[in-house]
C-alpha cells in the first residue's frame, strides 16, 4: 500500500509535465492569435498589382536600438529629404526608453518638412500604398505580447505570388517575410503604419477628416505656405468636401493671396452652405476689399446660422 502510494506520483509526473507544456502552447497560440494569412477583398485582389518593389529607397542599417531614426531616414529619403540617421537620433530617440515612441516619429517627419499620414485600411491599405509607390514605416512587436520586442521597419514592396512582404528591417535590406508572419507581428501594434510625403502628395487612401488633421498638424509646425500644396491636393482629391477648401482659403489668406482665398471660401460655401466659418471669412475678406454689399450678404448668412460664429457675425453687421 505504502509502496504503491510512493510509486503513483512518480509515474504521473511525466504525464503532467507533458500536459502542462501542451496546455501552455495552446494558451500561447490562443492568446497571440493564430498566424492566418491576411486576406484581401475581392476588389483589392483584382486591382492590386501582383508584386511591387519600390527600388529607390536607400537602406540605413540600424545600430543598437536605433530602428526608429533609421526607418525615418529611409522613408524621408524616399520622399526627397536626405537626412543622416545621426541627425535624426537627437530628434526622435529617447535614451531613457532606449527606443522611439510613435507620436515623436510623426513629429520628426513634420520637422523635416514632410507630412506624416497614419496608414488607413490595415493590410489591404498597406499593399495599396506600396503599389502607389509610397514606402510605409510599420511598427511590429516581433515577440509575444508579454515580452514585447517593439520594432520599426520600412515596408518597400510585396510579392503576392510568394505571399511575402519586402522590408528594410534592422540590419537586413530587402528582407522577405511571409505575409502571415508579418501580419502576426504587425497586428500587435494595431497595424500602425506611417507614410511620409511631400506637401502636395497624398496617400493612396485618405479620408477627409484624417487628411484635414494630418495637414493641419503639419501647418502648425511648418506654416501655411508649406501646407498650401497639401490643401490644394486634398481639395482636389475630395472635391465634394467643404472643409479642405475652407482650409485652403485660410492658407491662401495667410500667404497674402486674397483673391485665391475668396475663391476657396466661395467653393467651401458652395459645397456646404451651412459652414458658417466659411461664410464669415468670405464676408470679412470681401469687406476688406470694400465690396460692402457682397460682404453683408455673406455675413448675413452666418448671422442666420445657429453656431459658434453667429454672435460675431451679428456684431459685424451692426
Amino acid at each position: 500500500m505504502a509502496i504503491s502510494l510512493m510509486q503513483q506520483p512518480s509515474r504521473k509526473i511525466p504525464d503532467a509535465r507533458l500536459a502542462g507544456v501542451f496546455a501552455l502552447m495552446l494558451l500561447i497560440i490562443s492568446l497571440s492569435g493564430c498566424a492566418t494569412t491576411p486576406s484581401l477583398s475581392a476588389e483589392a485582389s483584382r486591382t492590386l498589382a501582383r508584386d511591387t518593389l519600390i527600388e529607390d529607397v536607400p537602406f540605413h542599417g540600424q545600430r543598437e536600438y536605433q530602428c526608429g531614426p533609421a526607418s525615418l531616414a529611409m522613408a524621408l529619403a524616399a520622399s526627397g529629404v536626405d537626412v543622416e540617421v545621426d541627425t535624426l537620433i537627437p530628434q526622435v530617440f529617447l535614451p531613457g526608453k532606449r527606443g522611439s515612441v510613435q507620436p515623436e516619429m510623426l513629429a520628426t517627419v513634420r520637422r523635416q518638412g514632410r507630412i506624416p499620414f497614419l496608414l488607413e485600411g490595415g493590410f489591404e491599405g498597406l499593399l495599396g500604398e506600396l503599389a502607389a509607390g509610397h514606402p510605409v514605416i510599420v511598427m511590429q512587436n516581433l515577440s509575444l505580447p508579454w515580452w514585447p520586442v517593439w520594432h520599426y521597419a520600412v515596408a518597400i514592396g510585396y510579392d503576392r505570388r510568394a505571399q511575402q512582404m519586402i522590408l528594410h528591417s534592422g540590419m537586413t535590406p530587402r528582407q522577405r517575410t511571409d505575409f502571415d508572419r508579418f501580419d502576426a507581428t504587425w497586428s500587435r501594434s494595431q497595424r500602425w503604419g506611417l507614410v511620409a510625403l511631400a506637401p502636395g502628395e497624398l496617400p493612396a487612401r485618405i479620408d477627409v477628416s484624417s487628411g484635414m488633421q494630418a495637414i493641419s498638424n503639419f501647418e502648425d509646425v511648418q506654416g501655411p505656405e508649406a501646407a498650401l500644396p497639401a490643401w490644394q491636393a486634398l481639395a482636389e482629391r475630395h472635391d465634394d468636401a467643404a472643409m479642405p477648401y475652407f482650409a485652403l482659403g485660410n492658407a491662401w489668406h495667410a500667404t497674402g493671396a486674397v483673391d485665391g482665398a475668396i475663391d476657396a471660401f466661395r467653393a467651401a460655401t458652395d459645397r456646404d452652405p451651412t459652414l458658417g466659418a466659411a461664410w464669415l471669412n468670405l464676408g470679412l475678406l470681401l469687406q476688406a476689399q470694400g465690396r460692402e454689399s457682397a460682404a453683408r450678404q455673406a455675413i448675413a448668412r452666418v448671422a442666420r446660422l445657429p453656431g459658434p460664429w453667429q454672435e460675431r457675425a451679428r456684431r459685424q453687421l451692426d
Binding site: L24, M25, I28, I29, S32, G33, C34, A35, E64, C67, G68, P90, Q91, L94, G96, K97, R98, G99, S100, V101, Q102, P103, E104, L106, A107, T108, R111, Q140, L142, S143, L144, W147, V149, W150, H151, G170, T177, D178, R181, A184, T185, M212, Q213, S216, E219, D220, V221, M243, F246, N250, A251, H253, A277, L284, Q287, A288, P308, R312, R315, Q316
Partner: protein, 129 residues
C-alpha cells in the same frame, strides 16, 4: 505637477483672456476664423483645452528631459507634436511601446519564442525564417 498647475492656471487664464481682447477690438481688419479653430468645435471648451495643452506641453518637456533628451532639443521636439499627441504623451509615455528591438534580454524565454517563431507567430530569431 498639481501645485504647479494651481499656480500656472490663473496666470494662463489671464494671459489668454488678455491675449484675445485686442483681436475682438480690432475686428474689421481681416482676422479670419482659423482652420484648427473649426476642427476643434466649440469656443468655451477651446479656452479650457488651450490651458490644458500648455500644461501638457510643459509636462512632456519635463518628461523628455528625465528620459535623457538634450535640453536644447526638448523644446523643438515638443513643438513638433500636435495637441492630441502631446496629451497622449503626457498621459501615458511610460506605457508607450518604444520601437527598439533588443533581443538579448529575451534569452529567458528563448524556448517559448523559438517555438512560436517556428509556428510563424513571432519573428524574433532570424534563423527560423
Amino acid at each position: 505637477m498639481k501645485r504647479l498647475s494651481r499656480l500656472l492656471s490663473p496666470l494662463l487664464i489671464a494671459a489668454l483672456v488678455l491675449g484675445s481682447l485686442p483681436a475682438v477690438a480690432a475686428s474689421p481688419q481681416t482676422d479670419l476664423v482659423g482652420t484648427a479653430e473649426v476642427l476643434e468645435a466649440s469656443t468655451i471648451q477651446q479656452d479650457r483645452e488651450r490651458i490644458r495643452e500648455v500644461l501638457a506641453r510643459e509636462d512632456v518637456q519635463r518628461q523628455l528631459k528625465l528620459q535623457g533628451v538634450d535640453a536644447d532639443e526638448v523644446k523643438s521636439r515638443v513643438a513638433a507634436l500636435s495637441d492630441a499627441e502631446v496629451s497622449e504623451m503626457a498621459d501615458r509615455l511610460d506605457q508607450m511601446p518604444a520601437g527598439a528591438s533588443v533581443v538579448g534580454a529575451l534569452f529567458a524565454v528563448f524556448v517559448i519564442l523559438l517555438v512560436t517563431d517556428i509556428l510563424g507567430l513571432t519573428d524574433v530569431y532570424p534563423f527560423t525564417r
